[in-house]
């Protein structure tokens, strides 16, 4: 029986805001694609600041007596700002504000986000948060040096660098970030749930959208904890309340504080902080699934399980937070509970890794640059995940706590791994965003230098950590238990880190040069099946889909369908056009 096409789309057209001037089109834009690019540029710009700060720290660690411009206070400030910038202002903003805004409407077949005005405000509040953060570099005393965890009491006490204006601006900036994010998050969740086009059922959504969707829900549940902690810490600092501050003698003087609980702050912070790892991780998992599938010309292995794993990881991530606090003097049973949940979360995570690998198994792998980065991600993620199993166990964590091993672990798992995905995603979607290809050779050099460089930096740090070298130390001085070879290793790491840092210039050069004079991309250059590549124009115009919204007939992974005229079948291709029998198997009914 021939396939009978369903009646025309019943999805209601929404009234779209049409910008009339340059300012409303490109500056105060309500178009999610423009907002996405604004988010991305801001996030990457502040990320470069974070990168420079890390190089400064490395210079100090590698060559302790050579840089008189860096004093211990600077060092703490660099650590703090590097951590905060990278985790929140770069990764969270880029994955959700950048990729989320660009991809959600396009991939679910919507003309825009459901609340475009709120979406616009979201970006401007985020920018304000970034500016406040940057302003803290210029106040008296400089930015806060409390460490990115901002633990009281030291975070707000005199003696910690930046305890004047720095810490206040930091907390205010975070509060604004959360307000801005909430406005964006509202859009992402509601657009995914209500704004899909006909045929785009939840289980036909690309995994990218699933990852961003679940991560946004996590963020909407986790950021409140940071908000609560941040507001109360701010009051402790400004109004001298004692929410978190115990009775304390500082510099020989009894302070007004008394009775507060610093551990309470730690719980709040990590109740946000652990899900935050997955707020960054889940979009990366989703995007990498799509990259692998497209560039290996094969449907993703175990699609449903991939969705379940995302949901499961999201859920479990809320009951593991205290594994960051094993050394805070907690009840051992408490630690036992959190160690158990932490190890359980490895199950859905491992499942995802197996499915990525099984997707590659006997696939038609094309070693494009996005694929290289995707493979780089899998290897790095497994690496960082395994050291996570070490640290998740209380007994192993206690001696390793606060050593360079921890630094190496989280940089692998939530620094390098998501960054691999970000680079892969930029190489993958750049043709869609700009209509031009990035330079292939520069891209390959960029990948190999970054990939090998990242391992040369972070593998030695594991070893240094095993030797007992603590993190957050300005210099070691005369320390008996640390062999002198550690210093040589540190110098090596620094040299590589600076080189990798500079290698990113290649990437930016490629980005800016290709934007204006790159090779014009053919339509859908990677031959991807998902909806964002099927727009009438490339890059997609305002309203995304021309006169009529697309109607979706299949999932986003129809690659290598037997009998079809091409090796991929776009999600919105009418079954009659597919050719052969295979593509829309519904034609068999």
């Amino acid at each position: 029986m021939a396939y009978v096409a369903p009646a025309p789309a019943e999805v209601e057209e929404v009234e779209l805001y049409h910008a009339k001037s340059f300012i409303t089109k490109y500056v105060f834009s309500q178009d999610a694609k423009v907002i996405a690019i604004q988010y991305s540029f801001t996030a990457i710009a502040i990320g470069v600041v974070g990168l420079v700060l890390s190089s400064m720290m490395r210079l100090q660690l590698g060559f302790p007596d050579s840089f008189s411009i860096i004093d211990p206070a600077d060092y703490y400030q660099f650590i703090t700002m590097h951590g905060m910038i990278m985790v929140i202002y770069l990764l969270t903003a880029l994955f959700l504000g950048g990729f989320g805004n660009y991809l959600i409407p396009l991939m679910v077949g919507a003309r825009d986000m459901v609340f475009p005005y709120v979406n616009m405000i979201s970006y401007w509040v985020y920018l304000l948060a970034v500016l406040i953060l940057v302003a803290s570099f210029f106040v008296e005393g400089g930015p806060t040096g409390a460490g990115w965890t901002l633990y009281p009491p030291q975070a707000i006490l005199e003696g910690t660098p930046g305890s004047g204006g720095g810490i206040i601006l930091m907390l205010v900036s975070l509060i604004f970030f959360i307000i801005g994010f909430t406005m964006g998050g509202l859009n992402y969740v509601v657009t995914v749930l209500q704004g899909r086009t006909r045929g785009m059922t939840l289980m036909r959504m690309p995994l990218t959208i699933w990852g961003i969707f679940i991560a946004t829900i996590l963020a909407l549940l986790a950021f409140p904890a940071l908000f609560v902690g941040g507001v109360m810490l701010l009051l402790d600092r400004v109004l001298e309340t004692s929410f978190f501050m115990p009775a304390i003698i500082s510099m020989g003087e009894q302070l007004e504080y008394g009775g507060g609980s610093p551990i309470l702050f730690q719980h709040l912070f990590w109740f946000f902080g652990h899900p935050e790892v997955y707020i960054v991780g889940l979009p990366a998992f989703g995007i990498v699934s799509d990259l692998i599938s497209v560039h290996a010309r094969r449907h993703i292995f175990g699609y449903r399980m991939m969705v379940w794993a995302l949901v499961a990881i999201g859920g479990i991530s809320f009951i593991v937070w205290a594994h960051h606090m094993y050394v805070s003097g907690m009840n051992p049973w408490f630690g036992f509970f959190f160690a158990t949940t932490t190890l359980i979360i490895a199950i859905p995570t491992a499942l995802k890794v197996y499915n990525w690998v099984l997707t590659l198994w006997k696939a038609n792998i094309r070693f494009t640059i996005p694929m290289l980065f995707a493979l780089g991600f899998i290897v790095t993620f497994v690496n960082g995940g395994i050291t996570g199993l070490f640290l998740g166990n209380t007994a192993i964590d206690v001696p390793l706590s606060d050593t360079m091993f921890v630094v190496a672990h989280f940089h692998m798992v939530m620094g390098v791994a998501p960054l691999m995905v970000i680079f892969g995603a930029i190489y993958h979607w750049f043709p869609l965003m700009s209509g031009r290809m990035l330079d292939e050779t520069l891209g390959r050099i960029h990948f190999w230098v970054t990939f090998i460089g990242a391992y040369s930096i972070f593998l030695p740090l594991h070893y240094i950590g095993f030797q007992g070298v603590p993190r957050r130390y300005f210099e070691m001085g005369e320390t008996n238990f640390i062999p002198p070879s550690v210093q040589d290793l540190n110098a090596f790491v620094t040299v590589v880190a600076v080189m990798v840092g500079f290698a990113q210039i290649l990437f930016f050069y490629n980005l800016f040069k290709s934007m204006s004079s790159g090779e014009i991309a053919e339509k859908n250059p990677w031959k991807a099946a998902s909806l964002e590549w099927q727009t009438p124009e490339q890059p997609p115009a305002h309203g995304n889909f021309g006169d009529e919204l697309p109607v979706v007939y299949r999932w986003a992974y129809a690659y290598g369908v037997p009998g079809a005229k091409d090796d991929f079948v776009p999600q919105d291709m009418h079954p009659d056009e597919v050719g052969g029998e295979g593509a829309h198997e519904a034609s068999k009914e």
Partner: protein, 205 residues
């Protein structure tokens, strides 16, 4: 369709495809703004819940001294209840297409919300006169924090209320303002519940 059957779908099978082609999948039977507001209220609920958890946690420490309970708070609570009733009245009237009722209900609700905020400021003043500063005890610090946060949310609501009131005043079609009136009413009821929780916390601890 439940969450689990949803997640158990097999999008690649012909049988499922035949079903999926005909609709856009699960959605909530709410308009987009209604749904957006629910998500936002969820977010605010998490914030206040965490504050309450921290409050209870902080209470057990030795330096906790309970606050006095100014009688004015009872008056404010009553005002907020009537304010909420006013918006409910506006909502019901909007459903009936009764423009006059919408106007009266909306104005009553808004004016009383301002009265509530003024009342809260008076309570603050009384407490300060009695010597309860934010820094003097965690209980008073929490009180100022809770009331301030609640007031900020109410102020945000008043912005939305103002926009709705302008629409109503300009004589816009009831069918068009109905949605905005409903959102205001739902938000007001939500803030009333939050206030009652905060107030009970103060009374019983």
């Amino acid at each position: 369709m439940g969450l689990f059957s949803q997640l158990a779908e097999k999008p690649w099978t012909p049988e499922q495809a035949a079903i999926d082609d005909r609709h856009k999948g699960v959605e909530f039977s709410l308009t987009t703004p209604q749904f957006g507001l629910r998500v936002f209220l969820g977010f605010v609920t998490v914030i206040f819940t965490l504050f309450v958890v921290v409050y209870v946690e902080r209470m057990v420490f030795a330096d906790w001294k309970p606050m006095p309970e100014p009688w004015l708070l009872w008056v404010n609570t009553a005002i907020l209840v009537i304010s909420s009733i006013g918006l409910q009245w506006a909502w019901v009237s909007a459903d009936k297409g009764d423009a006059d009722g919408v106007k009266k209900g909306l104005y009553l609700g808004g004016v009383l919300a301002f009265a509530f905020l003024t009342g809260q400021l008076l309570v603050w003043q009384q407490l300060v006169v009695l010597g309860f500063y934010a820094s003097s005890n965690p209980a008073s610090a929490f009180f100022y924090l809770f009331t301030a946060l609640h007031a900020v949310h109410l102020l945000g609501g008043l912005v939305a209320w103002g926009r709705t009131a302008i629409k109503v005043k300009s004589g816009m079609d009831m069918a068009k303002v109905r949605g905005s009136v409903e959102l205001c009413a739902v938000y007001w009821h939500f803030l009333l519940v939050i206030w009652i929780v905060i107030f009970s916390l103060l009374l019983f601890t």
